[in-house]
């Protein structure tokens, strides 16, 4: 009971902090649109390559931008925890009887909220520049679920990393080192069949690609539900593992006190 109300109040705190950074809000909402326009123009002609499959690149790109914006944002999540940690806010709450999980859950819930808002804006903007979606309700739902599973996993890892290394530079370096390669070694911008063979192998183990297979698949004209749910399953498993690792990091932080 108090764990629920604690989570509610911690969510409120994180949400207010989110809204109070107008530049950040603007950035998270505008940047995806810029990506959509930029990549949409840059890679437009790949649809003409034999074997690409899709004929409209915007339709192909929109789910990828939704996923990319979601998990990139999550990768930086550790920065906020680090801020609480260095300012002593985290310790203040740890001395109180507040539910421990609410400290992490509150932030993850705000992350889900921001990803949903971001995704809606990208989907609307995408439609405006020519993307088309089939199975709108179920398709969008699957895309949102998959993206949030991935983002929650990445967010939990980022929090864990922040609690372990306690350095901004490390989080920045780790994010840059991990996030971009994950995005480019997926079917985010390029069809699987046109990738070099070794990279095709890599995509099988790339969670970003699992998310795309599920999300893009569900929005497509004839969804193949088997692989979609299989990949959602992988993502759920990944999230559980990452959440576990994050709680381990939290314990390790407490032990180090």
């Amino acid at each position: 009971m108090s764990a629920l109300s604690d989570t509610w109040y911690m969510t409120g705190r994180a949400f207010r902090a989110f809204l109070r950074q107008p530049m950040y809000v603007a950035f998270t909402l505008i940047q995806p649109m810029i990506w959509l326009l930029l990549f949409g123009q840059l890679f437009k002609s790949v649809t003409e390559l034999p074997g690409f499959g899709a004929s409209n690149y915007e339709t192909y790109l929109v789910p990828s931008i939704v996923v990319m914006s979601g998990f990139f944002g999550a990768g930086w999540g550790g920065m906020a925890i680090l801020d609480d940690l260095t300012r002593g806010v985290l310790d203040r709450f740890l001395v109180s009887p507040v539910s421990r999980s609410s400290l992490i859950l509150g932030r993850l819930i705000v992350q889900v909220l921001s990803i949903v808002i971001q995704a809606v804006i990208i989907l609307l903007f995408g439609a405006a520049v020519g993307a088309s979606y089939h199975h709108l309700v179920i398709g969008v739902l699957v895309l949102m679920v998959a993206t949030n599973l991935l983002a929650t996993a990445i967010g939990a890892l980022s929090y864990g990393l922040a609690l372990l290394v306690r350095r901004e530079e490390s989080i920045i370096a780790a994010s840059n080192f991990v996030l971009l390669p994950l995005q480019f070694m997926s079917t985010g911008f390029m069809a699987l069949i046109l990738m070099p063979h070794w990279m095709q192998e890599v995509t099988k183990y790339n969670p970003v690609n699992w998310t795309l297979v599920a999300g893009r698949g569900a929005l497509g004209a004839s969804p193949d539900w088997g692989p979609i749910f299989e990949n959602i399953g992988y993502l759920a498993a990944l999230m559980v593992v990452c959440a576990w690792m994050s709680t381990r990091a939290f314990r390790s932080y407490q032990r180090s006190m």
């Binding site: 108090s2 705190r13 902090a17 002593g88 001395v95």
Partner: protein, 342 residues
């Protein structure tokens, strides 16, 4: 205030607390403390003496490597929930949320402790008023001065009306004016409200002013313990200096003081007669009477109490400032080493 019952006579009761960090750093090496309810207890020591580590163990933030402790009657390891409800803690590292307003900080803190509705509003208003933050309550904390932030920190520790309050270096970094205000607040909390307060400080004056009892901590150990006056009395005593008028027979005066055992370590230097007494203020009337009986007048009397710095020097073999400097250097060296390993 109701008098404490025998059972909870000690609001803080620590026995042989030990904290050894990974890598073998022994921050606390066996500390026992007994703090009676309703008193201010001072932990005095230089940076790196283990004060904060001790507070972290007593506030459930850090698990002791050895020993036991109870706070407000609850065991800090086995009854963490109860301890957390009973204590307020103001950490050395300020814990205010700078992205929120002062009022929001207090509201959230109150909710975490289960306060709701009108009761919470009333409590928050009361605290903002008491700490002189009424007018800035709706402002973001990032606009606050250091003193205001620190006051908010203390207010946060009081939202749920705790039985025991931990103040870890509450005035470090404050200007003298803000420090004096904070002292006033702490006195009021302890004397008017009967709160038990454990205060850590590296200001000798602060411990002297505020604490009824104090323990001097050095390198993870309590080196001595008692009321500030007791600690000072354990030294050779107060320095008593008498200025005698010209033409006085200083040897006769000396004989009076020595023969009647009114002073010890008596020396004569020109017209100054100096000696020591366990309680200088109490010794002066008898001394003056004895001198007058011997026909010796006195121009002036000075009684200088030994400072806590003298106490510190006696028990640790180094002056407080030297210890502080050594600790800062060690911390800096550790920081540099860490930097190289990056």
């Amino acid at each position: 205030m109701t008098a404490p019952t025998a059972r909870e006579a000690f609001a803080i009761d620590a026995r042989d607390l030990v904290k050894t960090y990974k890598g073998g750093v022994r921050a606390v090496r066996g500390v026992s403390l007994a703090v009676p309810a309703g008193t201010v207890f001072g932990l005095l020591g230089p940076n790196g003496a283990g004060k904060s580590t001790l507070v972290k163990m007593l506030t459930t933030l850090s698990a002791p490597t050895g020993g036991t402790a109870s706070v407000a009657g609850y065991d800090v390891v086995r009854q963490q929930r109860q301890v957390r409800r009973a204590i307020g803690c103001v950490a050395q590292n300020s814990g205010v949320d700078v992205q929120a307003t002062g009022r929001e900080n207090l509201m959230l803190q109150g909710r975490v402790y289960g306060l709701r509705g009108a009761q919470l509003d009333a409590k928050v208003d009361e605290l903002l008023g008491r700490f002189g933050l009424g007018e800035v309550g709706e402002r973001f904390v990032k606009t606050y001065s250091g003193g205001m932030k620190r006051k908010l920190d203390v207010a946060l520790g009081l939202v749920h009306a705790p039985q025991v309050l931990f103040l870890d270096e509450p005035t470090t970094g404050l200007d003298p004016e803000a420090r004096a205000e904070m002292w006033e607040q702490i006195r009021e909390l302890a004397w008017d409200q009967g709160l038990t307060i454990l205060l850590t400080t590296h200001y000798l004056e602060e411990a002297d002013q505020l604490a009824r009892n104090l323990a001097i901590v050095d390198q993870g150990l309590v080196v001595t313990e008692g009321s500030p006056d007791e600690l000072k009395a354990q030294l050779h005593g107060d320095a008593v200096s008498l200025e005698l008028p010209p033409e006085t027979d200083t040897h006769a005066a000396r004989s009076v003081a020595v023969d009647k055992e009114l002073l010890s370590d008596v020396t004569v230097d020109g017209l100054m007669l100096r000696g020591r007494s366990a309680d200088g203020a109490a010794a002066v009337p008898g001394l003056l009477a004895a001198l007058e009986a011997a026909g010796i007048r006195v121009c002036s009397v000075t009684v200088a109490r030994p400072s806590l710095d003298d106490v510190y020097l006696r028990y640790t073999g180094r002056s407080f400032t030297a210890a502080e400097r050594a600790a800062d250097q060690a911390a800096k060296a550790a920081q540099d080493k860490k930097g190289e390993g990056r």
